[in-house]
Amino acid sequence: MTLDLILFFGIAFIAVVSAISMLISRNAIYSALFLVLNFVAIASLYLLLNAAFIAMVQVTVYAGAIMVLFLFVIMLLGAERVETSPSLPWQLPVAILLGLVLVAEFAYVLFGKVAQAGGELTGVGEGFGSPASVGRMLFDQYLIPFEVTSILLLVAMVGAIVLTRDDRKGSR
């Protein structure tokens, strides 16, 4: 058992536990904080997998910007606890059953030798996953999709403003 493997299992444990905690927390603020933890764990897995640039993006964009937005909205609406009375009695058992089926299918794919996944990971080249290499590919081969992404973000921004605008005071 190497150091990497120990590190991986440790991070994986943190990720799964934080995800389950997010799922079962009554308070939405807790859920959000557990999710931040989960994201950070995944970012460190990215580092383990030689994806330094993506790991940094994960931390700044997801754990930073997006989750802050979540927390901000939760606090703005005061919606920490909304589930007062249970409804949809069959929803929980059926959901768990289907989740188990999904797990079974994943397991079948992984261990049932349906797909011949690679064994141990081998070495990588110099600078694999670095911001420079990813950026070169991004601006060489994916320039147009990249620019389209900027338009997408602009549209999302406009959409968010329009949706949240207070029409009661505005001029219809």
């Binding site: 949809l88 929803q91 959901a95 289907l98 999904l102 299918e105 079948y108 349906v114």
Partner: protein
């Protein structure tokens, strides 16, 4: 190729279709551009179209002089149905070319005359716009007459036969809004048309019989068949020829279908001259002459033809004596002369019949046109009086056709008088004018064949001379019996020149077939079976003597002491009731009215009431059909529509409603339920990828 070579080769026959094409072209030009061209151009186009046809006819004559056996000029296949094959082809032989020459020649002259006559007539009748229409109809008539004459088969002949009938109808009713009660002319046209329909019916039946017996409508096939198998099929041929005779009596105005021709005088005078004297009415004679091969076999039919002809000749001649309308006298005279021709072809003297047909065309056209000239002179005089303010008619309607309004025109209209005199003498059969030769040939042939026919015709000839003498004396001699007649002027040369040309024809027509020379006989020998009847001086002398006697009597009655103004006909005093009979046409019209028209109308009324109204409408339609329909629809409505159809529709609706009523609970509105079903779908798709695609 020189002209003589063309003649040798007989290729002039190829121009035969033009004889129909020229008048058609003329009528199309006039029909389309006529209103813009003006009267003069319209008249010239129409006349030259017919003149060109005459030229073509002369070319055909030359072609035949080297190839007298004639030919058939194919134009197109017309009908080909199974066994029936009717080509559209023109028969050019000596008989048809005789007709071509006569028809186109006389037509050309009458066309020229009509330019002058119609110019006045359309103004007198008050509608100058109809000038063009008249010439369109006239050209159409010539075209259809040519189709009739050149026909190579019965069906094509029937097309021409109907075509000339149509033109006749159109032209009789040319002033359709005039006449008695404003519809007199229209009724006259209708009468001609319907009477002719009866004859056409006979022609049609004959055609069906021919096709049934021979299987072909071509003249050549039919005559060949009659020649080969005639004796076994006498009954059929007798039936055919009798039906053809019915057709001929309609078209040629013979007993019993002659009644339309006098009324046909309602048309303008050139129409009477061309269609109802010279050409169309001779179609029946031509048709019977053409079918000589059939009539030779059927003796009964031939005898009947001769008898009908002779009877008509005498009967119509007696009526002509009692008429006062100048054109009606000539109309009955025409019927009478057509009777002569029919009698001739009936006794087997086709040549004599055709001879008389041609000469009659000359002098009868001449007489009619001269009568038109007289009428127009009287109209001019009448007009002149109106112009100066006198009241000529004494307030009554003035009839320019009535001979009682004439008299003394000899000095006013010199040319007209002389040509009229020539025509009348030719018609009376005075030596050496055309009528003498042709009529005597008929009488000689009749004398040869049957004494009854001969006697009837001889008496008819006597009456002919008498009524012509009476007419001449009433119109041209004595004192004018009306103010209009006093002021009647002569007509312009465009009218008198054709008259003079026709008069020449009436004088010289006899040379066509002089005794001892037999030009026409030799000519027609190539087409018909002919026999030469030698000149019979006794017959000729007798008929001339009778004619002179009749003219003498006429002078005794009308000339010695001219009829005064307003006085009755002196013959009325002498003959009493017989004259009344003549004057009233022996009440034939009334008889037909009583025997046929009234019962027919009564029958039609009864049938309309009983069959159509009560049976069909009241019983069948209202009771049977309507009730069945109503009951049926009620049953369909109650039992079928409400139960079955509505049941299906409502059932489908209820089913859908029930299903969707249950299904709607799937639609919980909870987004998590939807997510659940979405997951189920994902799992299924994933399962398919994992387990299904191996």
């Amino acid at each position: 190729m020189s002209f003589s070579e063309v003649l040798q080769g007989g290729s002039l026959f190829a121009y035969a279709p033009l004889i129909i094409a020229f008048p058609l072209l003329g009528l199309l030009i006039n029909m389309i551009f006529g209103r813009r061209l003006g009267e003069r151009a319209v008249g010239i186009i129409a006349s030259s179209a017919v003149g060109l046809s005459f030229v073509i006819a002369i070319l055909q004559f030359f072609a035949l002089s080297t190839h007298p056996e004639g030919t058939s000029v194919p134009i197109a296949d017309w009908i080909t149905i199974g066994q029936l094959a009717v080509p559209w082809s023109l028969k050019v032989d000596t008989l048809s070319v005789t007709m071509m020459l006569m028809v186109t020649g006389v037509s050309a002259l009458i066309h020229v005359y009509a330019i002058g006559y119609m110019h006045e007539d359309v103004r007198f009748q008050g509608d100058p716009g109809r000038f063009t229409r008249f010439f369109v109809f006239f050209n159409l008539f010539v075209a259809t007459m040519m189709v009739l004459v050149t026909a190579d088969n019965f069906l094509m002949m029937f097309v021409g036969w109907e075509g000339v009938g149509l033109c006749s109808y159109l032209l009789i009713g040319f002033w359709f809004e005039k006449g008695e009660d404003g519809i007199g002319n229209a009724i006259a046209g209708k009468k001609a048309f319907i009477t002719n329909r009866i004859g056409d019916f006979g022609f049609l039946i004959a055609m069906f019989l021919i096709f049934g017996a021979v299987g072909s409508l071509q003249f050549a096939d039919v005559f060949h068949w009659a020649h080969e198998h005639g004796l076994e099929n006498v009954d059929v041929i007798t039936a055919i020829t009798l039906f053809l005779l019915l057709g001929a009596t309609g078209k040629s105005a013979q007993i019993p279908l002659f009644v339309w021709l006098p009324d046909a005088m309602a048309g303008p005078t050139p129409v009477s001259a061309l269609i109802h004297a010279a050409t169309m009415v001779t179609a029946g004679i031509y048709m019977i002459a053409r079918n000589q091969a059939l009539y030779d076999v059927a003796g009964l039919s031939s005898n009947l033809v001769a008898l009908i002809g002779a009877a008509t000749a005498l009967f119509a001649a007696t009526i002509a004596v009692g008429q006062f309308d100048i054109k009606r006298v000539l109309a009955y005279s025409t019927i009478s002369q057509l009777g002569f021709m029919l009698a001739a072809v009936g006794v087997g003297a086709q040549v004599a019949g055709m001879f008389h047909l041609v000469t009659h065309a000359f002098f009868k056209a001449l007489l009619f046109l001269s009568a038109g000239s007289v009428i127009q002179g009287i109209e001019h005089g009448h007009h002149h009086l109106e112009h100066v303010g006198a009241n000529p008619g004494g307030g009554e309607a003035f009839d320019p056709n009535d001979m009682r309004n004439m008299g003394g025109l000899r000095s006013k209209m010199k040319i007209t008088f002389w040509v009229y005199l020539i025509g009348a003498l030719a018609l009376s059969g005075i030596f050496p004018l055309a009528g003498f030769w042709s009529k005597d040939e008929i009488l000689a042939d009749a004398n040869h064949e049957s004494i009854v026919i001969f006697l009837l015709l001889t008496v008819a000839a006597f009456f002919t001379a008498f009524y012509m003498g009476r007419q001449i004396l009433m119109v041209f001699f004595g004192q004018p019996r009306s103010e209009a007649a006093k002021h009647a002027p002569e007509n312009p040369p465009v009218m008198t020149v054709p008259l003079i040309l026709l008069a020449v024809g009436a004088i010289l027509g006899g040379v066509l077939n002089l005794p001892g020379m037999h030009t026409l006989t030799d000519w027609l020998e190539h087409t018909l079976h002919v026999h030469v009847t030698e000149f019979n001086p006794v017959v000729a002398g007798l008929s001339t003597l009778l004619a002179l006697l009749a003219i003498g009597i006429a002078w005794f009655v009308y000339g010695r002491q001219p009829m005064g103004k307003g006085s009755p006909d002196p013959l009325r005093r002498m003959l009493g009731p017989i004259f009344v009979g003549m004057e009233n046409k022996w009440w034939v019209d009334e008889l037909y009215q009583f025997l046929i028209v009234r019962p027919y109308i009564a029958l039609a009324d009864v049938l309309a009431d009983v069959i159509d109204w009560r049976f069909w409408h009241d019983w069948f339609h209202d009771t049977v059909l309507a009730r069945t329909f109503r009951e049926g629809t009620r049953w369909l409505n109650d039992a079928f529509d409400l139960r079955v159809i509505d049941g299906i529709a409502n059932g489908l609706g209820n089913l859908t409603q029930a299903i969707s009523g249950r299904m709607r609970f799937l639609q919980t509105g909870y987004v998590r339920n939807y997510a659940l079903s979405f997951l189920v779908g994902v799992l299924l798709v994933l399962s398919y990828f994992i387990f299904g695609s191996s």
